[in-house]
Chain length 221, copies 2
Amino acid sequence: MPPVLSLAVCLFDNVASTDFQGPVELFGFISPRGLPKRYWPTEPGYIIEASYFSVTMDPVYPMSGPALVPTRTYESLQPDEQFDIILVPGGIGSRPGVTPEPVIQFVKNQAPRAKYVLSVCTGAEILARAGALAGRKATTNKRALARIRGDHPEVGWEPRARWVIDGNTWTSAGVTAGTDMAYAFLEHLVGSEVSSVVRNIIELPVRSQEDDEFAEHYKLL
Amino acid sequence: MPPVLSLAVCLFDNVASTDFQGPVELFGFISPRGLPKRYWPTEPGYIIEASYFSVTMDPVYPMSGPALVPTRTYESLQPDEQFDIILVPGGIGSRPGVTPEPVIQFVKNQAPRAKYVLSVCTGAEILARAGALAGRKATTNKRALARIRGDHPEVGWEPRARWVIDGNTWTSAGVTAGTDMAYAFLEHLVGSEVSSVVRNIIELPVRSQEDDEFAEHYKLL
C-alpha cells in the first residue's frame, strides 16, 4: 500500500460545509475506501486518511446542509501526534470572536510541523489568527478580503487569485474555489495521470490559479 | 416573510455528499437562517427550508466526508405530506440493488406532485427507477451514462450537457455539475439580481448548460 498521509479537517459550528466537502470528495478517491486498483493508470503514490475534529463529539451544525458527526475532539490530540495535512474551512464560524479557541490552538500546534497547510474561503482568517500565515502570500474569500487584510497586515493577501501557494501553504478564495485548489493539490501529490481519473469522475472543469473574476467584482484591484 | 418552499434531500449510505452539499450551500442563503435583508437588492421571492431524509435516524455514512445526521425518516412521512422540491444525489449508494427501497418509494410517492424534481450525478438513476423520468430528457454522470441508458431506454439521456431541464425536472451531470445546476435553479426561482449575491459570496463561476467537456472524454458523442 502507498504511504498514508493523515489529514485533519477542522470542524466548528457555522462552518461552510462545502469548503471542506469539495476537497474531501476528491481526496476520498485515494483514501483507504477509495477506487480499486483497476481504475488507476498507475497506483496513486499516496493515500489520504481523513479525521474530522471538533470541540466535542456532538454533531456540528454547519451554515447549510445536515449536521456533521466529528471523529475526534481537539482535546484528544496526543502531545506527540502530528498530522501531515491540515485543512481549515471557513464560514460564519471562522469570524473573529466566533471560532472556538481549541480550533485556533490546534492550528497553532499542528501547522508548524505539518507537511501541508490548506485553507478554503475565510478559513485563511483562522490560519492568520494562529500565526500560520505571517510573511506568507495567501488569499481568502474576496467579499471578506479587505476586512481580513486590515486585521492581518502581516500577510501578503493576493486579491486576484483562485488560490495561492506559498511553500507548503495552500489558501483558496471563497467556497467553490476550494475544490479547484484541492484538484491542483491532488495533482501536485499524485500527478496528473492519476488526478485526472478523479477529475473525470466528478466532472470538474480545470481552472487556473489566475482565473478569478471576483477580485474585480469586489473592486479589490 | 416570502413563501417557503419545502425541500426534501434524500440521504442514504454511500451518497456522494458534494452532490447535495453544493446545492444546499447555495439554497441556504435564502433559508430561514440565511442572509439578513440588508444583503439583498430586493427581498428574495422564496425561502427554501431543507429536510434531510434517511431510512433511520442513525448517522449516514457518505462515500467521502464526515457522517451526516438526518432530520427525518422516509417512514415518518405523513400520507398527505407533500414536499415542494425533491433533491436526489448520487454516488455508489444510488446503484441498482444498493439504494434502500424506501428511497425509491419516497421518490415514487413525492415526484408526481412536487413542484420541482432535481437530481445530481447518478441520482438520476434513482429518479429513473422510481419512474420519474419516463419520456423525459435527462442527464447523469457521464462515466455511468452508457450503462444507465442501457437500463433505462425510456429516458431521453443527453450525453453533452452540464444539466438538463425538462418541465419541472432538473437533472445534472457528475458531482460538481450539481452546483452549476443549483445556481441556474436559484436564478430561475428568485431572479438573477438576488442569485448573483449568492454567487459572488461563494465565488461560483457561471457555466452554461452546454459547457460540458466530459461527454467527449467518455466518447459518448
